[in-house]
Symmetry: C2
Subunit: 173 residues, 2 copies
Amino acid sequence: MMKGREVILGILRNKPQTGYEINDVLKNQISYFYDGTYGMIYPTLKKLEQEGKVVKQTIIQADKPNKNVFSITAAGKKELQTYLNSDAVAEVFKSDFLMKLFFGDNLSRSQIINLMEKEIQLKTAQINHLQSSLQQWEQEGITDSQKITVGYGLAHYTAVVDYLNQQLAAFKQ
Amino acid sequence: MMKGREVILGILRNKPQTGYEINDVLKNQISYFYDGTYGMIYPTLKKLEQEGKVVKQTIIQADKPNKNVFSITAAGKKELQTYLNSDAVAEVFKSDFLMKLFFGDNLSRSQIINLMEKEIQLKTAQINHLQSSLQQWEQEGITDSQKITVGYGLAHYTAVVDYLNQQLAAFKQ
DNA sequence: ACGCTCATGTAACTCGTTACATGATTAA
DNA sequence: TTAATCATGTAACGAGTTACATGAGCGT
């Protein structure tokens, strides 16, 4: 399974960026299949720099905090490519919602309904997020493969929302 | 997000079981939304025992290795219930496949096709696994909520397999 | 002979999380 | 005056992974 370092190398593959900007990409562009935090980003960039996989350039700014822009090196590109060429391993999926449903023998009827309704809300919000992101990327440029990843996310989320709505209706009767 | 200890307490909630049997449940019944290994199971059982959340009973067997059967205690049930009553947090989803598709600008056409075909195979196998498990559980007894979790998994997998087949066909043209 | 099922565990390690720590500018 | 945006980092901790270690019985 991919690690933070590979994700960061992937994000830097075409364009030098700061840790702050990397966080933005994580949150807005690939949050569907990966999530990371600053506590991972900065230490990983430091390590990649020490290994010569990325190089840092400090930019002094007057009205904003200074920033460190990282670019991928040839060694970094090589590591990324090696990862990209390796076999994809099975996804990781952990669901608190399903866990609660599965083990919640003695949850009340209303608790189960509440659980399902909240899950539907969460997923609906994620669908909206993906859809609005897609519109933005289409303007900025997105590859066909990248479009497939977004479509994959939408297919997944809409399927489970439809399923849950249907089950919820049946459950309420 | 749920942790191994909560999953184990959930598995033991109705029936005392050994670490070996817990592993079986993880692999066959809830692998869709959780995965764990012996390296997590045994240390966690040990810790839960020290905390008085489970109790161990050793059973001497003649023709097989001895086994340690763990039962949940009142304290364990309380912890499980507290977890079950807490708000469900967003699922964790990490996909090596989507990562490779997203960052694979310079993968060849055939590599992309290969990636998608393997993903379809993997997911199809998981659909078959879920379906055959469902049949078995229906004989052994499964609650309505548990049936919903399996249906959720099937809805998810079939949606993405359909989507990928469709995209693959378009991509190949 | 070979591999599967049953059965339990530890030690080292890795990766990432959470919380902490700082601080200026700008828009509402 | 309050929150958001821009911007970077560390330290302690937690949870789980991987690899190792052992071994009998049963079916083909």
